[in-house]
């Protein structure tokens, strides 16, 4: 009897827990994406001195749900001469690749769907790169010139920037010495420093390349509305269009999570190994308290009674989250005997908070760049990729490797590694400036000749 129960528990642990996590992610992700879009619109409005969505719910808080309902009940148009099957398949491919790659990510020490896969980060990067087929095939199947042009641009852009992103990941992985996502974060915990500080140039390259890979402004040429209507999405409408939209934001979350895991210490608190920085543990609950308090303060100023109640409900939710976050920190202070029992909860809950916090900060950076930097021209984009980022990433891998050997020779560890990695980063930067100087000299004579003419919108 005992064996049967144990066997059932093992079976459930092996198959049902990952399945449940997967279902939760697939169910919650569209909602999260909706709210990312709301934040993006609010931020854009703020930068352009507007208010943004204000009508649905207080401060437009219910706008994503209204948008989702609108998209679901819209008419689904398939063009007359489209390749129906491929047209149907393409958005599914795109969103499927994005969702599948999330399976490899670890959102906390315990929350990972595909537990402990040896090739972790390669799995995430490799599977998410399959999403490009959705874009290319969708563009081709629509049988429209705008769509095809967008698809061509997209595939050229992705192939170019994947090399640079891969090389940047290599520089970071050199410090980790493993591909397993959990071990990468544990290596950062052990060394007491984030790899983003050890390899700042690689981090920079990854940021730029990941913007290009997710087709975001200033590299959103595949869907440049001033040139191509909406690029590969031109002929898509309703639910199919929203699938593409979901795929784009899923990919953003994936690249942000990869960057967080490898360069920003994953689910670790900042200064996780420094004792006197332990007061940072109070930051998550205090942040939630502050948000809740702000909601309470703003509630009476809402025009309608429903909106006031909604605002108070949001505040209540924030307070509950703050309580959950505060419990693992407060309990050991009050009852030291319970410290051991609380530890896994602390790791899980606070780990999840810090991971999501860093991912949000990364996505916020993306948004900020989108509203401040004007769009590149396609040949400029190609030149930036092939003539600047790829040479720089190769040089960076070499320099970081040399720095690691020197560091190992002097037995440097943790923060002391900065002694060798900072000169390495400076050398890489000098190399970058040299590349730019050569580029300037050669670039003026052949302006716009790096890419053939058919790219030119």
């Amino acid at each position: 009897m005992q064996a049967v129960i144990q066997g059932t528990i093992d079976f459930l642990k092996l198959y049902w827990v990952p399945l449940l996590c997967g279902v939760v992610i697939v169910a919650v992700l569209p909602l999260i994406v909706g709210y990312i879009v709301l934040v993006e619109r609010k931020l854009m409005a703020d930068m352009q001195a507007r208010l943004g969505p204000m009508r649905v719910g207080p401060h437009g808080l219910l706008q994503p749900i209204a948008d989702a309902v609108k998209l679901l009940i819209k008419e689904d148009i398939i063009p007359e001469n489209a390749d129906k099957l491929v047209f149907w398949l393409a958005p599914v491919l795109s969103v499927g690749a994005g969702l599948l790659s999330i399976a490899g990510l670890a959102f906390g020490p315990a929350f990972q769907i595909a537990q402990d896969i040896n090739i972790g980060i390669l799995f995430v990067v490799g599977i998410s790169s399959l999403g490009i087929f959705g874009i290319v095939l969708g563009g081709w199947a629509s049988n429209s010139n705008y769509s095809l042009m967008g698809a061509l641009r997209s595939s050229a852009q992705l192939v170019s920037y994947e090399t640079a992103a891969g090389m940047a990941l290599v520089s970071g992985l050199l410090f980790a010495g493993t591909l397993n996502i959990k071990s990468i974060v544990e290596a950062q915990q052990e060394q007491g420093i984030w790899f983003g500080m050890l390899a700042p140039v690689a981090f920079f390259i990854y940021v730029v390349a990941s913007i290009a890979e997710t087709n975001r402004a200033p590299f959103d040429l595949p869907e440049a509305e001033s040139e191509l209507v909406a690029g590969y999405m031109t002929e898509f409408s309703g639910f199919r269009w929203s699938l593409y939209f979901l795929a784009e934001y899923t990919n953003m979350i994936v690249v942000a999570s990869v960057a967080t895991t490898l360069f920003l210490g994953g689910w670790l608190r900042p200064f996780a190994r420094v004792g006197w920085m332990n007061f940072l543990d109070f930051f998550p609950p205090l942040l939630m308290l502050a948000i809740g308090g702000y909601c309470v303060w703003r509630a009476p100023k809402q025009p309608a009674r429903v909106q006031q109640l909604f605002m108070l409900a949001v505040a209540g939710l924030c307070f509950v989250v703050a309580l959950v976050l505060a419990a693992p920190v407060i309990v050991p202070l009050a009852r030291p005997s319970l410290a051991g029992a609380v530890k896994p909860f602390y790791a899980g809950i606070h780990g999840g908070f810090w991971f999501l916090f860093k991912v949000s900060a990364y996505i916020y950076l993306f948004m900020w760049l989108r509203f401040t930097v004007p769009r590149y021209r396609f040949d400029q984009l190609m030149r930036l990729g092939w003539h600047f980022l790829i040479p720089l990433s190769i040089i960076n891998v070499l320099v970081v490797g040399v720095a690691m050997i020197v560091g190992a020779y002097f037995h440097l560890q943790g923060w002391a590694m900065l002694l060798v990695t900072t000169p390495a980063a400076i050398i890489a930067l000098i190399a970058a400036l040299l590349i730019l100087a050569i580029e300037q000299k050669g670039g003026t004579a052949q302006e716009g000749s790096a890419a053939p003419d058919f790219y030119a919108g």
Binding site: D83, V86, I119, G126, L130, V136, P391, G442, Q446
Partner: protein
Amino acid sequence: MLDKVIFYFFAGIAVGSAALMVTRRNVVHSAIFLITALLATAGIFLQLRAEFLFIVQIILYVGGIMVLFVFVIMLVNLDVSLLQLKFARQKWVALIVALVLGGQVGVMFWSSGKMPGQGFPVLNAAAANRLPPNAEEVAKSLFSSYLLPFEIASVLLLVAMIGAVVMAKKRT
């Protein structure tokens, strides 16, 4: 048992989509079926507990080479009839090559296990419950036993990449 089911599932997809790839008239449809065949092959690698080969297959062949294939197909946009004319001439050559290859594989199957050193080698199965540290094993063999060929291949690829950049630069 489960292993066999998974193997025949992926093998069936691979063979079926390979056949469809050859017979489709539309080039883009052929490319899609080639992608399916490559993905199914990756699935077989995973079933054999070679997860590193699985992801390399996906990143290199599906994510890299096939994207370029599809890109070129769309860019060139060849007339379908022109394409068929071009490739239809080699029917008999293809038949002979396929027959010879099939015969070879058949002989391998037939002689397998009859004589020592003949036919397919029998390898030890990996532990069922845990995947071996694939990436580490591959790296170890690449950087110890096969260091020189690996370095030569890497330098060759790097030269090819730099060469591509240089050639793209000199277009004036």
